[in-house]
């Protein structure tokens, strides 16, 4: 089983060596779906990042659960579990407000996933972790404070 998987992977790399144009055609539709929002990712405040994502008017909601430690001993690896009970949830966005670049990512669950995600993040200093859920074209938000004793950014 494992050996076969190796050879399949080699096949994939072989495809990668084809002329760029062919690869571009193969990857075209995938790329179109996922445009990495540079403006939002480079925003230095949560408010600016939310505006860049069109989430500026998010309302507070109690139907988003953020499970994260109250005190994280190691800011380099802070586990976060997010569940939305808002009907029609399509995406979950995460912001770590006091990080140099707060916007941490968006998880699109609209195409057949449950509105849940687990991830592990770096948190530079004690900070609220803000989650914005998109449902039916509207945005809902909540936040949870995580205290960090050893920062997760820099050396």
């Amino acid at each position: 089983m494992d050996d076969r998987r190796r050879s399949v992977l080699k096949g994939i790399w072989a495809v990668g060596a084809l002329p760029g144009a062919v690869v571009a055609v193969l990857l075209g539709p995938v790329r179109a779906l996922a445009a990495w929002n540079k403006g939002a990712f480079e925003a230095k405040s949560t408010a600016d990042a939310m505006r860049a994502l069109g989430m500026g008017s998010a309302e507070d909601s109690k139907d988003i659960q953020i499970r994260a430690p109250d005190i994280a001993e190691n800011g380099a690896v802070v586990p976060i579990d997010i569940t939305s009970s808002i009907p029609g949830t399509t995406a979950i966005a995460v912001f770590i407000e006091k990080n140099p670049f707060p916007y941490t990512g968006t998880f699109d669950v609209s195409q057949g996933a449950v509105p849940y995600v687990h991830l592990r993040v770096k948190i530079g200093e004690s900070s609220p972790v803000r989650v914005v859920v998109t449902a039916g074209g509207k945005h809902y938000t909540t936040a949870k404070e995580v205290k960090v004793t050893i920062g997760g950014c820099g050396g």
């Binding site: 449950v114 995600v117 993040v121």
Partner: protein, 106 residues
């Protein structure tokens, strides 16, 4: 070439609980090496998952995700034996695809 991902997909009812561990440095561009020079940014920007060829999960992330990232998500309408394919792409254009099959839950 990047190391393979570790992917586990376990069925709970008709929902597949998918966990993935990716080997990646996730450099923020703010860390200094032993010589005091900044280590350039190098981080995963996009992760997608397909169930039997259809995209079911699509994530855009930043350098704030921890080194050797772990993600978990839940895919609806899965059956034992279904194929889950996960692909990541980083800011240097490197990418990797790995797959697993959905296992029946205990």
């Amino acid at each position: 070439m990047a190391d393979p991902m570790k992917i586990r997909a376990t069925l709970q009812g008709d929902v597949a609980d998918v966990r993935v561990l990716i080997a990646h440095p996730m450099e923020t561009g703010q860390r200094k090496d032993a010589a005091g020079k900044l280590v350039p940014m190098h981080f995963i920007q996009n992760i997608t998952a397909q169930l039997n060829g259809k995209t079911v999960f699509d994530a855009d992330v930043s350098q704030a995700v921890s080194r050797n990232p772990v993600f978990a998500f839940k895919v609806k309408g899965a059956k034992a034996g279904d194929k889950i394919v996960i692909t990541w792409t980083d800011n240097k254009g490197e990418k990797r695809t790995d797959e697993t099959t959905v296992r029946a839950g205990s």
